[in-house]
Structure formats: C-alpha cells, structure tokens
Symmetry: C2
Subunit: 586 residues, 2 copies
C-alpha cells in the first residue's frame, strides 16, 4: 500500500523498472522526430513571448525531464506552447520592457509562481476546479488566442514593428506601419508562409506518391518547418539579407543553461501572481485535454491531480534552468504519440536531443530570419482557429452560444485573461440563472403505466382535486421564492384542488432556505385546507428532511412513488365518499 | 391594458380613487402611532450614521411619500433603519470626516446612487438577483450587524469616544478608553437601557393588568423610547447635565428640509458606487422580506420588481431633501400593520407627522442626551441578534452552516460589505461544488411496482447485464467529466454489463460540454459492445437532444419510462436466447 502511494506521486516508478529494449527503440525514434519538430517551435514561441531564442530551448530541456518523473501521461510532450507564450508576453510586458534583464527575470519568476501554484493545487487535490472551464469557453478562448497570435506575428513577416495587446490595437498599429514594410523581409516571409501552408496538406500526399508509407510520409511532413529554416538561413547567409533590413535571430549562446535561483522581487511577485494563476489553469486544462484524448486511445488513464504535480514540477524546473512557463502541447504530443512513443522516456530523450542542439547547432541559427519563425507560428496557430463552435452552440442552446461569443469577443478586444475570466463568469452566471428559474410541469398518469408525465406533452390521466407537480431542479436559495410563487399561482387558478403532491425526482438537494419556503407553503396550503405531499424523495434528501420539524408539520405524506401516492389519495376519497367513484378524466 | 400598465408603475392609482372615510380613520390612527415611534428612531439612526439628527427626520418625510406612490406593499414603513445606517456610516466614513460638510454631502450622494441603482434594477426587472442572498447569509449578516451596532453604541452610554469598523477594533478602542467613562452619562444611559429592556417584555402585561386591551397595551408599549426621551431630556435640563460632560443632541434647525440637488463630485461618486450597490441590495432584501410577510397575512401581494422602483424613488427623494439612504424597516412596519394601517396613505400621514415635529418640536430636543438615543438603538438591534441559526444549520447541512458562519465571522471581523460578499460567494461556491460532484445511484425495480430505486437502500430487482444508473443532477460543464469517469468505473467493475440505461429524471439540462461527454461515453461503450440508453428524458431536454447528431450516433434507445426500457431489453434478450429465461436476482 505504501509503495502504491509512493508510485502515485512518482509515476516514473510504474514503468522504469521493467523498461525493455523494444520500448527503448520506439521511444528513441519518437524522440528524434519530436526534437526536429521542437527546435523551430522552441525558437518561435520564445520569439512570441518576447524572449531570447535560447530560452525557448532551455524551456524544452529540464521541464521535459521533470514531467517524465511526475506526470501521468505516457505520451504528452511538454514544453513551450503558443497560448502560454502569448499569455507570458502579456503578463511580463506589463512590468518590464521587452529585451531588458528584468523582462527575462520576470519570465523566470512567472514560471516559478505558476509551477508553485500548480504544485499547490495538486497537493490540495483541486484538479476538479478545471471542470469549471466549459467546452464553449475553452473553444472561444483558443480560437481568439489563435487569431491574436497570428496577427501579432504579421509584423515579422512585413519587417515592421507594431504591438498591442488586443486585436484592435494590433490592427491599428499594423496599418500605421504598413508603409514601412521591408520588401526583403516580405520576400522571405511570404514564400515560407506559402510553403508551410502547402506542407500541411500537400507534402504528405506527394511523399506517398513517391512511394513512402502513410505513417512515414506523415512524419516526414512534420519536418516542413525545419526545411524552411534551413532554406531561409542559407538564403540569408548567401545574400547577406541582414544588411537589407531582414531581422535575423543573431548569436545564440551555445551550451546548456546554468542552474539558478529565480530572483524573488516582492513587488513583481505580487503583480505576476494573478497572471501566473491564469497561465497555470489554462495550461493545465489544455494539457489535460490532450492527455485524456491520447490516453483514451490506448486505454490508459491520466490522473488530473497528479498531472498538476507533473506540470508544476515542469514549470519549477523551467524557472531554475532559464526557461519560461511550459505545458503539454497538442500538435507535438500527437506527433510523439503517432511516432510510437511508449513511455515518458521519449520526453527525456527529446530533452537530450534539444541539449545536443543547444551545445552544437546554435551557431548555424545566427542567420535564421525571424520572419521564418513567425511564419511557423502563424501556420501552427491558424489550425487552432475554428469558428464552427459558434454555429454549433447557436443551434444547440443560447446559453452555450453566449458563453462562446463572450469569451471570443472579450479575448479579442480585451486580452486573454479578461476573456477567460468573463467566459467563466458568464457560463456560471447563466447556469445559476437557469437553476434559479426552474422548469416545473403539472404531470398526470401515462395510461397503462405507473409513469407520470407533463400534461402539456402527453395524453395523461389527471384528477381534479390532486395537483401533481414535478419540480425540475434542486430546491435551493436561488429558486426557493420562485417555486413558492409558482405553486400559489397554480392553486389560485384551480379552486378544486385539495391535494398538492410535489414529485421530487429532480430534487437532489433541499437547503435551509428552501426548507423555510416548504414550511411556508405547507402553512399556507393548510390554511386553505389543502394537503401538501411529497413523492419520490431521494435517499440523501429524505435522510436530511427526517431530521427536521418540517416533517412533523407536514399536512400530508411522503410517498415512495408518485403513483402509490395518487392511488392512496384516491382510495381515501372513495372511502370518505362511501363508494363514490373518483372524478377523473383523460 | 394600458391603464393596467400605468397602474403597475404607479400602485397608488390602485387604491387612491376609491379611498374611503373608514380607511382614512384607520390610516390616520396608525400614522400617529408610527410617528411617535419614528421620531426617536430617526434621531437615533442618524446618530448611528454619524449624521446630524435633523437628517434622520428629513429621511422620514419625502421618502415615505415617494414610496406611497410607487411601492406595492400596503403597510411597509420606509425610513432610516439600523443596518443601512451602519452601512452608510462605514461607506462615507471612508471618504470624509464625520461632522464635516463633505460627510453630509457624501450621505446625500450615497442616497442618490443607491436610489438610481434600485430604479435601474427595477426597470430592468432584476429583482430576482436578490434571491442569491440565501437565508443563512441574511441571518448571519443580520446577527453580526446587530452585534457591531450594539457595541458601537456603548461609547455613547459610557460617554467616551471610540470607533472602529470591525468588532475587534471597536472592542480594543472601548477598552482603551473605558477609564475615561463619564459617570453622569452612565447614570443617564444605564437606567434608560434597563428601562427599555423592561419595556420590551414588562410594560405590555403591566398595562393589561391596568385594564387595557391586548392591542392597545401593545401599541402603548411602543411609546417606551418616547417616554425615555422625555424623562432624560427633562433630567438633562433640570440638572444641567451638559455642564457635567453629558453629550446632548443640541440645537436642531427647525423647519422643513430645503430641496436641493446633491453635488455630483466625480471622485466621490466612484468611491461610493460599490457601497451604494451593497446598501441597495441589503436594503431591498430586508424590505421585501418584511413586505412579503405582512402581505401574506392579509392575502395581498407585493411585486419585487416594482418594490425596487418604490425603494429607488424613496432614496432619490431622500437625496433631494437632505436625507440619507432608507428602506423598509421591520419593527416599524409591524407596528404600522398592527395599528391598522390599510393603505400607503398611512405613510403619507406619517410623513406629515414627522414634518410637524420638525416644524414645532425640535427646540424640545436640544437637551436630549445622546446616551438615550444609543440605548434605543442597542435595545432595537439586540432583538436582531439570533445565534440559533448556527445550531439549526449545523444540524441541517454543513453547507448551510458554512454559509452562516462565514458571513457571521467575516462581517464581525472585516465589516458588513465583506461579510455579505463572502457569504454570497461561499454559498454559491458550495452549491456549485455540490452540483459538480453529483450523487449517482444504481437502481433496481421495487417489486410489485414500476418504480426504480437505489439498490443500496431498497430491496429491488436487478439484472446482471443491465446497469440502471440514475444521475442526480443536470449534466453541465462542471460535472460532465466527473460523471463520465464514474460510468467507466462502474463498467470496469462488472464485465457482464451489456446495456447501460441512464435514468434522466433529475437531468434538467444537458449543455454542450455534457453533450460532448455523452458522445464519448457512447463511443467508448460501443467499442466495448455495450449499448447506451437514456430513459425518462424530460420534454425540454429531449427537444434539444433531438436536434443533435448524438441521437444518430446513440447505440441504444431513449425510453419513455425506465421500466418500459428494462422490459424491452429483457424481451429482446429472451428472444435472442430463444426462450431462455432472463437472469435476475432480488
């Protein structure tokens, strides 16, 4: 039992002991492919975050090892991702100037805060909180972030400078500067962009026509960005494009990152905390949804609370090794999975691959145009943009549509943190509003069964002196008054009523406010000589009701089933009328 | 129809046209009694709010007339009340020094903001928002406010100065100053306090022993505070107590308030807005609950959204006539009701009575000791203090107890606004948490019926290849993942299952996130050759489901009743087994 507990905190122990040679080969192969994909991504996302390119590489080393030790997904590929890089730029851009030392220090601090918050959530088992981000909110947020990221990178393609935190500012800045477009930069950026778009759909079929298998062709087509990098770097070197105003990556210090303790500046700490929480939650949700999807395909499981610890450890590792906030990336994890990764060892091998790149390949990156990296980002994030959720939610339910569109619009117009906050608020508020004005149905017996359904939707049997009312919600403070008013309204309409049976099939809770409401309903009905009954009260609810005085005051009964209740009342009526037949109509 | 719409905005039109002589006499009598009660209250609550006494009187004139025109309660007595006066002191104390002109201007502005907020809520029909203040939150808040108010008034009884916004600060300040107690003040304050406590329980029986009727004795006992005022004023005048350090009310300008437009200082406006919202909501909830209680006794009705307009108009009137925020008061409204008030005309007559007092009686109030007013407040608010809710909620449900105790403690330790905010947040968070981890029950057939109940609580019939699962909550984003995991868990435990029927009696909603979860449940069960069925899906839910692709993908069926579903599956099994008997156990 103790070993099991230790294993649950160190998932690496579940697979490392019986690690096989076959597995090693599979993992190594996947690691090679992911490394080739991750090098341009690391550089590009560091650019997006406004950080020097080597920080992207550093964020792709130790964090992967930390996740391999603590994470529960077998195939998740942790590292820099687009949305978190955007959020990092936005958070640290508020407290430091891009390019300054304090900007870099803020990024490290942000990773540390984010890691500690994730670890704390994991230890406190608060993973369930992520459930409060609904699918519409996530979909709206991802689409809006994709648009903002793509637009923010256009400046690199055009060779101008333009920045802004929301779409409106970004577009205005771009339009103001568009006359200054550097044609050499555009001559690099546009072809790469076109090439990468073509690679997405055209390269794989072409390779297959050259005789490659489906899988090999798919893998090879993921090297598109690397081909773009090699081609444009050579072009930049050959034609000395840097002299013509094409911005290049420039010298990247080669070697591994030095381990260091992030500087804990008190004021920065406080200013970054909220952003760190947003980044943690968004990163966690993105990562867990990828992890779930991949795990389900192989009948494996991931444990959300341990995932918090895995991602927390990864971010703390990033903070101590010159990186910036990381999480599990979607595209990369799918490639890792498809390339045959079996265990998190693939992640460790990938980290080694990136380490080798940092040691030996950085001199070759000096001539890499930033426009190439921007094109890589644009092509990657535009695949996130998906407006179909707007149509789908519109057709499904207005509340889901409002949640999507609120998140989408606020993210575009006011930034990522506001967008998520408003989206979550809107979806919770709509849910609460709906439960505060619940649906109620007068029900009757479906002929030939003991089943009771809405009189307005089904041909059912009712009795003039019995009001059978189904309340379609738990009774709690937000709807207690509403339900009380509705019951009085129904009774006022029909003076023949002598019995009210509340059918409690959907009543999962009765809180103290609602109990007070039931007490006054019972009192008021008693004054009018109407009996109040309850039927089909669930176990947990009746357990609580039985401890209260309400049960003593209740003028009627609590029936096991609605049908039994109606039968009993009819039998009593028949008896008191000395054989008179009950008055019923279909 | 048009006239009805106008009448709904001006409820005065519903009764003023056929106003009778009998009604006039009843209303006049009630007005006289309420006026006698309201004079000391107005002065005392103005003292509590840190405002000059005449502002209490001004707040008891025009606001009553405005409410009589726009309010829907026949007997509610609007004016200064304890809790709102405390909240006023706390709000304007932040931006101005008590006694300064800007303090008074802030009070007027607060009344204006509060009135406009209430009017806005009323016009937008947002009265339902008040339902989100649960009974436990209100109870905790009222008790804590009562304690804070009573303690805050002790300084007047002791003749010292001590202030503080929370209980801890107040008590510390009192202890620091207690050595400076003015014995003359104490000699006035203590006897009045004792007298007023005795009046509450002892005066009525005494009067009845002298032959007065129950009702007359009850009414007369409400004049206790006035007797206290007269007696202590005479004593202060006779013994020149002001010279011995007893603080007196002093000169009150006589005459009616001058109408004026509150000064709209921009920065004050912004600082007071949040407080104005809190005051509006708390005042509204207090007033509506009194209004409801009294209206129910006479089978009348109040309309919450029109009440917002009535109270909004009253507060705007207060702002324009030198008053401060007002609302419907509990004790005073009950007296008005018991004294026989029939229409809001009683309120208008009360306003006239207070006007006469302001014109002719203010010179007599100059010698009134502040200790007397403080004693009036203490006795009034201690009746609000009721700790029984703690015990009641503890015995009922932990979530209600947490809501009560959070509100109570935070109000005591951090002030009224924080207390209400934390209470509402806690009760909503607890409710959401509960719905995010819903109860689910495996159910079976109660023998001899078509009713299905929890296998753990009832002796029921189950079938080894059918999992009948009742989900006791609407399916929405916060619980979709939880429910999905639980279903997989149940299936893993039992490999004989071939059919899962989700009994949807408590499913009042399926949102887009939950629909996605159902899709993946259906997919995963299909992969394991298990059919997914739904039963007893409610009308509104099935209407939406029928528009989706989920219905097309669903491997099983949607059954009208759970029983019909089980029967159908058993019949199919029997057929496919060529007459084999179904495998069932009790």
């Amino acid at each position: 039992m103790k070993i099991k507990a230790i294993k649950s905190y160190f998932p690496i122990l579940t697979w490392v002991a019986d690690y096989q040679r076959d597995t090693l080969i599979s993992d190594l192969l996947a690691a090679v492919i992911v490394t080739i994909m991750l090098i341009p991504q690391s550089l590009a996302y560091a650019l997006l975050a406004g950080l020097p390119p080597e920080m992207g590489l550093y964020a792709s080393m130790l964090p992967l090892v930390a996740y391999a030790i603590f994470g529960t997904s077998r195939t998740l590929s942790v590292g820099p991702v687009a949305v978190v890089s955007l959020m990092t730029a936005s958070a640290i851009g508020h407290i430091a100037a891009p390019g300054s030392v304090s900007y870099i220090e803020a990024a490290l601090l942000l990773a540390l805060l984010s890691g500690m918050f994730l670890l704390g959530m994991g230890i406190l088992r608060m993973g369930f909180l992520a459930n409060f981000l609904s699918h519409p909110v996530i979909a709206g947020f991802i689409t809006a972030s994709g648009i903002i990221i793509a637009v923010s990178q256009l400046k690199h393609i055009l060779g101008i400078s333009a920045s802004g935190e929301n779409l409106f500012h970004l577009l205005t800045a771009l339009l103001n500067e568009i006359a200054n477009t550097n044609l050499y930069t555009l001559a690099v950026g546009l072809p790469v962009l076109a090439f990468l778009f073509w690679v997405r759909s055209g390269l794989k079929p072409l390779l297959m026509r050259f005789g490659l298998g489906d899988k090999a062709a798919g893998m090879l087509s993921k090297t598109g960005p690397v081909m773009g990098i090699i081609a444009t770097s050579i072009a930049a070197y050959t034609f000395d494009l840097g002299q013509h105003g094409v911005k290049l990556v420039g010298d990247i210090p080669s070697g591994l990152p030095s381990l260091q303790i992030p500087s804990l500046d008190h004021s920065a700490w406080r200013e970054l905390l909220v952003s760190a929480i947003f980044i943690s939650v968004i990163g966690f949700v993105e990562s867990v949804s990828v992890g779930h999807t991949l795990a389900a395909k192989r009948r494996q499981k991931i444990t959300p609370n341990q995932e918090l610890i895995g991602l927390g450890a990864a971010n703390v590792a990033a903070a101590f090794s010159g990186g910036y906030p990381v999480t599990g990336g979607f595209a990369r994890s799918v490639v890792n999975f498809d390339a045959g990764a079996v265990t998190p060892a693939a992640g460790i091998f990938t980290a080694v691959g990136i380490g080798l790149a940092a040691l030996f390949f950085t001199p070759y990156l000096a001539y890499l145009p930033k426009a190439t990296l921007a094109a890589t980002i644009i092509v990657a994030v535009l695949s996130l943009v998906d407006f179909s959720i707007l149509k789908k939610s519109w057709g499904y339910a207005r509340s889901d549509f409002i949640a999507v569109s609120t998140t989408l619009l606020v993210t575009l117009l006011a930034g990522v943190e506001s967008g998520v906050a408003c989206g979550v608020f809107a979806s919770l508020a709509l849910h609460l509003y709906k439960t505060s004005t619940p649906h109620m149905a007068v029900v009757g017996e479906v002929p030939g069964t003991e089943h009771y359904r809405n009189v307005n939707r089904h041909k059912v049997i009712t009795h003039s002196d019995i009001l059978s009312l189904r309340i379609d919600e738990s009774l709690y403070f937000a709807n207690a008054g509403f339900i009380e008013d509705k019951i009085y309204e129904l009774i006022e309409k029909n003076s023949a009523i002598r019995h009210v049976i509340l059918m409690c099939t959907a009543v999962n809770e009765i809180d103290l406010s609602a109990l007070d409401a039931l007490e006054s309903i019972n009192q008021r009905l008693s004054d009018s000589e109407i009996k109040l009954h309850l039927s089909e009260v669930k176990g947990p609810v009746s357990d609580i009701l039985l401890t209260t005085d309400f049960i003593k005051h209740l003028s009627g009964e609590i029936f096991l089933s609605h049908h039994l209740g109606v039968q009993k009342i009819l039998a009593q009526n028949a008896k008191s009328e000395e054989g008179g037949t009950p008055n019923w109509t279909i």
